[in-house]
């Protein structure tokens, strides 16, 4: 194998992936009550189209698309709507959700299954992906159909499937690639067909040699990538795989590339081939704080507490519960939040696993500058933000930060660099004088 590709900067936090990477995906039945968020995708939440007391069937649209950057939401079960209200969410403080009492979990094929996607036009495929509510399953949950509908002046020539999974602990994508590669490959072919591109490839970190080997043996063009965080960040992945640098403030389509997560590709296959809306996903439940870490396929709306129970319950002293990975995930105060299409992991971390919190002054060691994948100067932006010198923060490029957390990770003074930079971003945007973001 040639030397694995990478981007400039980055760091290598301990992976802890062996906790769950050997555990096959376990399919969890729908719980008695599902809490289906209407705000699972990025953008405007779906508008509820059912009311309390309505009977719904699996796959039925319960929330309608509400704008361009929005998606419909579907019921993952057959049952009765108990309530529609704002509830705590894993990815934001709270959001609208439809609470459904489960009766059964069969059916769900609400669209016509297309066994041969090539007999339908790309526009039809894209429409199906939209109707099925497919959004990015890597974390940001951006509506997939939007990425597939570039403005006419942009030419897309490359599709990159993101199988990097650079966040420590998470193994959901790894297991998917091992256990269901055919769906993922089919989804990839559908996405390439929808975009009209010939060139597609999948980027995988070399810490998943079994997945690389399997997919290569199935004829997929795999780009092995160095284990370095954040290798899976869209712009860094494009840089590492095809050597194109997405302009600051620009989008991958500006360099002719579309990136989709492996889970998204599998969801696309289900939507087009099986006529199934996006209602389930694979979640890694791990950390030393759970008894038997593993990977679970759960329907959206399943409470995190059910996942924890499926993983053997809490063990020992759990200091922090996280939705997502440890680098960019959100800390939760309760496990009573539902799985969304973007929930890649549930982490229960013990005190020893969590970063110690004792913030000191910046000693200007410059480690954050060396590792920043965006090549910012986090130390200076953060110090400027601390003293509310927003123009300095802006001049050092604060608005380009994607909050990957690499700087905070390496900081020997334990500074909350991401927090300061986010504060600066809010203040700069409020000033209204920020450079084009």
């Amino acid at each position: 194998m040639t030397k694995p590709s990478t981007f400039r900067g980055g760091t290598h936090p301990p992976g802890h992936k062996d906790l769950s990477s050997g555990s096959p995906i376990v399919r969890l039945p729908a719980p008695e009550v599902v809490t289906v968020p209407l705000c699972q995708h990025l953008g405007a939440p779906s508008k509820p189209v059912v009311t309390k007391g309505d009977r719904v069937v699996r796959g039925q649209e319960i929330g309608a698309q509400n704008g361009f950057i929005s998606l419909p939401t579907h019921s993952p079960v057959n049952g009765t709507v108990k309530d529609i209200k704002d509830l705590p969410m894993p990815h934001r403080r709270s959001g609208p959700a439809v609470v459904i009492e489960t009766e059964s979990e069969d059916g769900g094929c609400v669209f016509e299954p297309w066994s041969d996607h090539a007999s339908h036009s790309p526009a039809e495929i894209i429409d199906r992906i939209k109707q099925a509510g497919v959004c990015g399953m890597g974390g940001a949950s951006f509506p997939t159909y939007v990425k597939l509908s570039p403005p006419p002046d942009k030419t897309i020539d490359t599709l990159i499937i993101n199988g990097v999974e650079c966040e420590p602990y998470l193994t959901a994508d790894h297991r998917l690639m091992l256990e269901n590669p055919s769906d993922m490959i089919l989804g990839m072919e559908m996405l390439a067909y929808a975009l009209g591109v010939e060139r597609c490839m999948i980027g995988i970190e070399v810490n998943k040699p079994d997945a690389i080997e399997l997919l290569e043996s199935m004829g997929v063009s795999v780009v092995p990538l160095k284990v370095s965080y954040p290798q899976g960040a869209e712009k860094q992945l494009i840089d590492a795989t095809v050597g194109r640098e997405v302009p600051a403030g620009g989008l991958p389509m500006d360099v002719g590339v579309v990136v989709q997560n492996v889970g998204t590709a599998a969801a696309v296959a289900c939507a087009v081939r099986d006529g199934m809306p996006s209602m389930r996903r694979i979640v890694t439940v791990t950390g030393l704080g759970v008894a038997s870490p593993g990977n679970f396929e759960a329907c959206v709306g399943t409470p995190f507490s059910d996942l924890i129970e499926a993983a053997g319950g809490y063990s020992g002293d759990v200091e922090r519960l996280i939705s997502g990975g440890p680098m960019m995930g959100m800390a939760l105060f309760t496990d009573g939040v539902p799985v969304t299409k973007g929930t890649s992991g549930v982490l229960a971390l013990e005190p020893g696993e969590v970063r110690e919190v004792s913030e000191g002054p910046c000693i200007r060691c410059g480690k954050c500058v060396d590792v920043c994948p965006i090549r910012l100067t986090p130390s200076i932006i953060a110090t400027a933000a601390e003293y509310e010198r927003w123009t300095i923060a802006r001049d050092f490029g604060a608005l380009n930060c994607m909050a990957c957390g690499t700087c905070s990770y390496v900081c020997p003074s334990g500074r909350y660099l991401v927090h300061y930079i986010k504060r600066a971003q809010d203040a700069i945007r409020a000033m209204g004088t920020g450079k084009e973001a």
């Binding site: 600051a248 440890p326 309760t334 970063r355 000191g360 002054p361 060691c365 380009n400």
Partner: protein, 376 residues
């Protein structure tokens, strides 16, 4: 789950690298220890005592300042005061009275560091500010007291002079008495003065005197540039400040720091590289005839390069800025050595560059990912 569990909230990332400021500082202390061993071997337990006094003073004064300003006293034990205390003592001659490094160390911490807000906020390297304060206040004490290596054990017949020139060459050197007890850089400076006197004599028509002075300058310089001198400088058989003696042991410390990921190579390498290049350009009597090896080995540039130019707080954080800092400090060091009032310019060059660090940072802001292409 029946019971409701509540968890701590915090901003991501939720994991952190094991590196801490404290570990970095104590790594620097460890890296400075080989040089302390060299100082003790060559200059005796007195040197060790001066370092100990200086370090204790630094920590004590830091503690008192923090207490006085009602700030957490735990900062006094984070290792940064220890580093400052050691470096201050490393920058004084071994023969100074005990109270001199104590005073310098107290000044370094109280004025150089705490007055500016403590760790991370000082503008210039506190140890070097302390040294500059001592140089300004006690110029005679600070430029004398050079001890011949190992003379504390063997007396006058130790076989080594402070000027690092080997005995055999010193024996045949005209005017050898004049350079006995001087540091190698001081000797070099004297040869420049001889050049000057020779030119004056020539202008006054005293050709013979001029030729003799010039011959002395040339032969002294060639003695400084001999392999014997290099070896003495490298191993540490020379007069000089406590910490700068042994290049070998300083390098061992530097390698340790580098292996531990604490030392960022751009700063020291650009500094030492710049010293070597500028030494060759104008470090000799004329142009492009200087001796880069002598200039790098002599004086404090190795100590300065690895432990003070690479001081994190007072140097740029940007990759380009670090190279500019190193080159700038190297240039100033050589200008002072060649034309300045002192034989050694290392510490002042670093202090001067410390002052422009914020400017360097601002003008060397790295190009943000994707910025080049969007603008071009």
């Amino acid at each position: 789950m029946a019971q409701t569990r509540r968890f701590e909230l915090a901003i991501s990332p939720h994991v952190g690298s094991p590196q801490t400021t404290r570990k970095i500082m104590f790594d620097v202390v460890i890296a400075l220890l080989p040089a302390l061993a060299a100082a003790t071997w060559f200059f005796g337990p007195g040197a060790l005592l001066l370092v100990a006094l200086s370090t204790a003073t630094a920590v004590g004064v830091e503690y008192i300042c923090l207490k006085f300003m009602k700030r957490p006293v735990s900062f006094a034990f984070d290792g940064s005061a220890v580093v400052t205390g050691i470096l201050l003592a490393y920058n004084v001659p071994p023969g100074v009275p005990w109270w001199l490094p104590v005073l310098g160390s107290a000044f370094a911490i109280a004025v150089g560091k705490q007055a500016f807000g403590g760790l991370g906020h000082n503008i210039v390297n506190p140890a070097l500010l302390g040294r500059a304060f001592l140089m300004a206040s006690f110029p005679i004490l600070m430029t004398a007291g050079w001890a011949a290596p190992e003379s504390w054990r063997t007396g006058e017949d130790c076989g080594w002079d402070t000027n690092a020139i080997v005995q055999e060459e010193l024996a045949i050197l005209p005017g050898a008495d004049a350079i006995s007890g001087a540091t190698p850089l001081n000797v070099l400076k004297q040869t420049f003065d001889l050049d000057e006197s020779s030119r004056t004599a020539l202008a006054e028509g005293e050709t013979e005197v001029a030729a003799e002075l010039e011959a002395r300058a040339v032969s002294t310089r060639s003695a400084l540039s001999s392999s014997g001198t290099y070896a003495n400088l490298f191993l540490g058989r020379r007069g000089g400040c406590i910490g700068e003696t042994s290049v070998l042991l300083l390098l061992i410390g530097a390698v340790y720091l580098f292996a531990r990921g604490v030392l960022e190579p751009r700063l020291p390498l650009s500094y030492l590289g710049a010293v070597a290049v500028f030494a060759w350009i104008f470090g000799g009597s004329g142009w492009f005839d200087g001796d880069p090896l002598f200039h790098v080995l002599a004086g404090g540039v190795v100590l300065g390069g690895f432990f003070m130019v690479s001081d994190m707080v007072t140097t740029p954080v940007t990759p380009k800025g670090r190279i500019i800092f190193g080159i700038g400090a190297g240039l100033i060091t050589m200008i002072i050595r060649r034309w300045g009032g002192y034989p050694e310019g290392c510490s002042y060059s670093i202090l001067l560059m410390n002052l422009v660090t914020p400017l360097i940072d601002r003008f060397t802001k790295p190009k943000v990912f994707g910025e080049v292409k969007s603008n071009g």
